[in-house]
Symmetry: D2
Subunit: 298 residues, 4 copies
């Protein structure tokens, strides 16, 4: 991988291991984070710190965002409220924004236009995988954008994960893919929640059902989430419940724009709202099942 | 496997290969079917035909039912309308009814009582697997009943499948397990339907999403149903749509008795009703996804 | 009203005032009730007590049922377990069964056949109104059955209510009407529940919203149920919650037979199941709203 | 009513008759509309036309908005893209924005802040009633805002409607009230849709059910919408279907902010999306029932 200058935003439990992998791959990484102390390990490994988003992107070939949601990306890149102006205006012509955050289809389209009229590239490249996978370079990258831009980002993607699927030439195509994949996970959590509630209320052990389901589906995802839910082990949160609500909302927003009813997404959204109303906001998103159990009087 | 005399009811696309496997295993099998011609292959292999349910069970050690639903089992075993009386009264004391059909929890409890007060055994042993698996002896058997009865049936179960899970000592425990497992399949069909509708309406190819999901879930069930739905290949029906409606109904009935809301099961039920109202009754149950697509104007 | 001999079954909070009105109207009323003490007031006014359902109907011109559900009607009329045989066999040819209970469409069709092949008449005549309306002869009767039979029952209906709507010549047509009307009430309870939960969670007083809704809808039903729910006054139960669950189930059963999705009925059913799981079984059916409030963390 | 200078925005089928009533009441009305020809009748009666939003509000005591949604209000008042700058900056200190549009709770809170820091007043005053009611001065106004501001707007409200309910001192309180009231109407449309689908699919005439419901609820709203739906008369649209979708969305947004599940609102939203996907976008919002009928194969 030829040397590229990377600006990196978002040092949460996904972003930090991703940025570390880029440093390990020998890239020149400049990070900006609201809480500079979060960059300590990165700096130790050789990353540099920028004092503002604008400074971070000034010389970058590629700017990577791994932030919580639309608002966080907007704040970092587009907001004129930054001390020295909107960062997007400082990103060089010809540089590429590689957006790995899970954001809305509508905002991805907006970003595409903003970058395009500044002569910058934009490749959406959300990733599948939990923090452990990020650390182990085992993420799966769904990429979309103009072919040449995707190719320029490919070495960076390869440093982050175990594989890349190119979803199309328009960035939002990667975002809708990520949204649909996360929806499939939400649907599974809902299904586990209902099946286990029926089982428990019938006086039976959900682990016994899980064993059958593992035989039937033979999927590590079923084994993993099934065990968490059967054990009712929702702390610590690998992926926080309110991010599950966000994902359900992203699916519903994309669906509304496309005039597609997604009643199962609405169902999940309502259960997450109930979870938040009952104080489960910081539990793992699989605690969706706990709300379903409570609704059954468990 | 010591020699046992088996009465077998239900020569549909699951029952026929199951009965053939029992004949192949050297058992003495007597079949009864409303349409005797359906027994032709079995007779060729050595099975005998009974002219009535009562005649079929008269000397049986084990009576196996593989029928469509509660009503069909009730008609064969309990109905006094049979030419020579209710078959259950002809089943010898000490013989066992091995119920492999997918029936309701409530009816399973009723059967347990009916057999019990006649000194007969009853082991619920519904199976997981489609017709191909039945033919290949690859079914998975979920068994429940008194320990000694389950043991007596074990050789028969081994002749039918690749594994057995004992779910408890009360027969209905196997039934609720089967109902919960089928519900998990229904939930997956619904999820595929919604995700693919969003994808198609966004102008994208559902096969591209399926590839991502196969990477994520790594499950043969996802690969198989995902492909059927992405291809919109709902004929011929491996498992008919109206049986999907029946399964959703079984989950809802068990859930109502246990006071458990299962809104996802209701959602599936409604989509199946819509499918039937639109003439999809004889399609494969995965055509659930087609209704969801139609609701999105596809 | 010419003198008719009436057998009356069901002395609950609806049936007792109805039977009293018939006695007041000068009819010869013979009642049967499992708990004979419930007939005390009726006997005082001149009604006679029968010791069995069969005895009650033996000389009757019209047999009226006002029982809780299908099972209760089946037990009284069709069950052979009665001390002296099934009551339906004792009802004279030419006599009419006037069924005022809220029963399923399917069972109403079954009753029509059972009476028909015994040369008896059957008029379904469910009523709208709560116990106060029954006492005040202000029920509204929805009647269906062969024209001449409906006419013969008309004087009796007039003694019970303030009006009669003839829904058709097939008895089940009155039952599906009653089921649809009750569904509209259930839908209103659900709507109140959700709107008030939003209002309360926003820190506002639901009574203020109710005032607006009273201005908008100008309906006594809204005023009445709206006040109960805004006051959270669910005891004593005018109409018990588990009867609400029954009504939702009747709508869903009729809808399934007609292949009609009724997702709002499923929603109500699930909330009632949750109510029962949380111990609200004996509250008024408007306590549906309480479950919705709890789901919002209230 | 003392003479006040009014700026009026939004001459749709609600806004035009409202503005005419203000002119009739002797007020000095200045209107701005993107399509100036829509102001013809108003000008004839004595209103004046402004060439920009800014010009319209420059001397106003009260600026009234009756626009389609959040975006339309934002465009008129806050957008800097207007030829001569954002109109809100031209509204005099001490003047009041009287917002009669149905907008979101979140945007109402934003407007309150924007006006407040410019020393302007803001009274939310959404109205209940269809265009005929607007013309006949029979709207019902739900008002909220600081007491003195509400009082200053009262004469204007009195010129528009038959009554005023003050919902609180914070403007958003009127908006959440309007949203909840519209939700109750949406719930009714859904309920009619399902009940009539069941009725029609059972081979019966929905008008016969409507007669019963009119007796039961005794509400002009039931009579009116029930007739439209039973007649399947959805054109011309008194209130367009896509505004129904907007209203469901406003309820869901307010509910999400308050962590309140509103599954019935989700149900309505999904049916509206399906309606739009099937080309019913410009029908009356009561055509929600048509989607439900189609889902039942009608």
């Amino acid at each position: 991988m030829e040397n590229v200058k990377i600006a990196f935003f978002g040092l949460g439990n996904m972003g930090e291991p991703m940025a570390l992998n880029l440093v390990d791959a020998g890239q020149e990484v400049r990070v900006y984070n609201r809480t500079p102390s979060k960059a300590a390990r990165l700096v130790e490994k050789g990353a540099r710190i920028a004092r503002s988003p604008k400074e971070a992107v000034r010389d970058a070939d590629i700017a990577i965002t791994m932030l919580a949601n639309d608002e966080a990306v907007r704040d970092i890149l587009l907001a004129p409220a930054q001390p020295d102006g909107a960062a997007i205006d400082a990103l060089p012509r010809g540089a590429i924004h590689m957006g790995t955050s899970t954001i809305s289809v509508a905002f991805s389209k907006e970003l595409e236009q903003e970058h395009s009229r500044r002569g910058q590239g934009y490749v959406a490249s959300p990733v599948l995988g939990r923090p452990e996978a990020a650390a182990a370079k085992k993420l799966w990258v769904m990429a979309a954008g103009p072919g040449d831009q995707v190719e320029r980002c490919r070495p960076v993607m390869e440093a982050l994960g175990r594989g890349i699927s190119v979803m199309g030439t328009q960035p939002w195509q990667a975002n809708v893919t990520k949204i649909a994949a996360n929806f499939m996970l939400l649907a599974l959590l809902e299904a586990f929640g209902e099946a286990f509630a029926l089982f428990r209320k019938s006086g039976m052990d959900p682990h016994a059902l899980l064993e059958i389901l593992n035989g039937l589906f033979n999927s590590p995802v079923y084994a993993n989430y099934g065990r968490m839910i059967a054990d009712r082990q929702f702390q610590p949160a690998g992926f926080r419940l309110k991010l599950g609500l966000k994902d359900a909302g992203l699916a519903l927003a994309a669906a509304q724009d496309a005039a597609v009813p997604m009643p199962l997404a609405s169902l999940v959204r309502d259960h997450y709202l109930s979870a938040i109303a009952r104080g489960l906001e910081d539990a793992d998103w699989s605690a969706l099942a706990e709300v379903i159990a409570q609704n059954a009087g468990l």
